[in-house]
């Protein structure tokens, strides 16, 4: 690939040197992410890097609320407490003695797509790349919870990680999920991602994995799981990460009583190539993307162009929680063309033309359209 001519200023050379120090630390030196913020770490993937079944670490988005904690794996402990007949503490060595389970699952930020809503709302302005598909390996949380003997009054588990806000008045990132989901056989305390130990940015040494559910419950750097009769009353469970049921009009304020915690993801597809604004030749253009859903598996993906819907081929075999790569060859003629993709799941769930507006900008799943310039 031709590289552009870069004027070599001393500043650039210093920057390149600093960059190479960074590369030396990176697990995948040839990857690039898009920096929404460096402090705390919030990075999304460029879409062209997401068109494969498994997303490599070099293209896996990173979301954080606070500074990345440094956790000593030897000193790390996971505490299970609260309404537990036998509170327990586990080290990494303890976890390694349990049967290990691997689940392939999409991880998507609740706010993926926030920047696309109108009217706009505050928050990290993700576009479409805050998502990835990986294999997650660890111990089933139900096994660990069984060891702690949950009391009959327990209805929720509250998940706490090692990350912490700087100021005392800032609420910690704490999430509660129903005990039922925590006991689901696919909910994991994962130590590995794509077959390798979790990296610090992805929650080392262990994180919660809730396949099929929105990313806000996949707590990184997990240290404490507390059984309780109620959800945690603090901000990140009681106020944040809630979706209006039913939704209101764009821009409409919603009374708190109508805001419910999110759980399953919704049906979604994203075109990973060609890119929006790309120039292509007349004839057939190969459209590639990924599609995934909540409880019901993807049934079909239609690629939309010039009033026609072409059923895309879905690659590989479906997995319970992973995404499907789709491909379609779309005829295009000279001029400007808009290409869309719409996924439908087995329960008829599909993507709306306009996103379902909500005050926090969550669960964006409107049909993705890319505009192409077609010329010889």
């Amino acid at each position: 690939m031709l590289r552009p001519v870069i004027p070599l200023s001393r500043r650039h050379l210093l920057g390149a040197a600093a960059g190479s120090l960074m590369l030396g630390r990176a697990a995948h030196a040839d990857g690039q992410l898009l920096e929404l913020s460096s402090r705390p770490e919030n990075y999304e993937a460029p879409l062209e890097a997401l068109g494969t079944r498994i997303t490599p670490l070099s293209a896996f988005y990173i979301r954080s609320h606070f500074a990345r904690p440094t956790v000593d794996p030897a000193a790390w402990r996971l505490t299970l407490d609260g309404l537990a007949g036998r509170p327990r503490t586990f080290s990494l060595a303890d976890l390694a003695r349990y049967p290990q389970t691997t689940v392939e699952a999409v991880l998507q930020c609740a706010g993926n797509g926030r920047a696309l809503f109108r009217p706009r709302m505050p928050g990290v302005q993700w576009t479409r790349g805050a998502m990835g598909n990986a294999t997650w390996t660890g111990v089933r949380l139900k096994v660990l919870l069984a060891e702690s003997k949950p009391a009959s009054a327990a209805r929720f588990v509250t998940l706490r990680g090692a990350d912490a806000p700087l100021l005392p008045a800032t609420p910690a990132f704490v999430r509660s999920i129903p005990l039922d989901r925590a006991l689901h056989e696919d909910t994991l305390i994962a130590t590995h991602m794509n077959g390798a130990p979790l990296t610090p940015s992805h929650g080392a040494p262990a994180r919660v994995v809730v396949p099929g559910w929105v990313g806000d419950d996949w707590v990184k750097w997990i240290t404490r799981i507390t059984l309780g009769a109620e959800e945690d009353p603090s901000f990140f469970t009681a106020t944040a990460y809630r979706f209006p049921s039913p939704p209101g009009a764009p821009g409409e304020a919603i009374p708190p009583a109508r805001m419910k915690p999110m759980s399953w993801m919704n049906t979604k597809s994203v075109i990973t190539s060609p890119a929006h604004g790309a120039v292509v030749r007349p004839g057939k253009v190969e459209v590639v993307g990924v599609a995934f859903s909540g409880p019901a598996a993807i049934a079909r993906v239609e690629v939309l162009s010039a009033g026609e819907a072409i059923e895309a081929a879905l690659e590989g075999q479906p997995t319970r929680y992973g995404w499907r790569v789709f491909r379609a060859a779309v005829p295009v003629e000279a001029g400007r063309v808009a290409i869309g993709a719409r996924a439908t799941d087995g329960a008829g769930g599909t993507q709306p033309d306009e996103p379902v507006w909500n005050p926090s900008g969550y669960l964006h799943n409107a049909v993705h359209r890319v505009e192409l310039e077609v010329r010889a």
Partner: protein, 134 residues
């Protein structure tokens, strides 16, 4: 034309690593919303100091941002928002509840300055590409 200048703003972190200079195709990032990046589009980075200088006219707003807001997060968090005054006010109120020290009148001053500099109609600036972190 300040908004046109603002188009060139990308907020660098404290550890700036200059990217190769390239065009910013303003047409791709118009009202239709934040477009996905294309291979042809990169961004001209600037330092946090540059961003401060281009933000709100009032030196007081720049000072407040640098002294108080940067305690917890980088300026990119501020610069990527696109909000009307009422929503800027609500965000700053929340930040104050979360511990940001703000004297009487400073929250309103900051909200007005940010609403003028970063309103909803200002086009998005694509984020810069960086090497993958560990």
């Amino acid at each position: 034309m300040r908004w046109a200048t603002a188009l060139l703003i990308v907020i660098a972190s404290a550890c700036t690593r200059p990217d190769p200079a390239a065009r910013l195709d303003a047409g791709t990032h118009a009202r239709s919303g934040a477009a996905t990046s294309t291979a042809a589009i990169a961004v001209r980075t600037t330092t946090a100091a540059d961003m401060l200088a281009l933000l709100p006219q009032s030196g007081d707003a720049q000072r407040i941002l640098a002294e108080r807001c940067l305690l917890c997060h980088g300026l990119e968090h501020v610069a990527q928002q696109r909000l009307p005054l009422a929503k800027w006010t609500a965000v700053i109120d929340k930040m104050a509840r979360w511990g940001t020290p703000l004297a009487a009148g400073e929250a309103e001053l900051l909200a007005r300055a940010l609403a003028e500099a970063l309103p909803p109609e200002l086009p998005d600036v694509p984020p810069r590409r960086v090497p993958t972190r560990p």
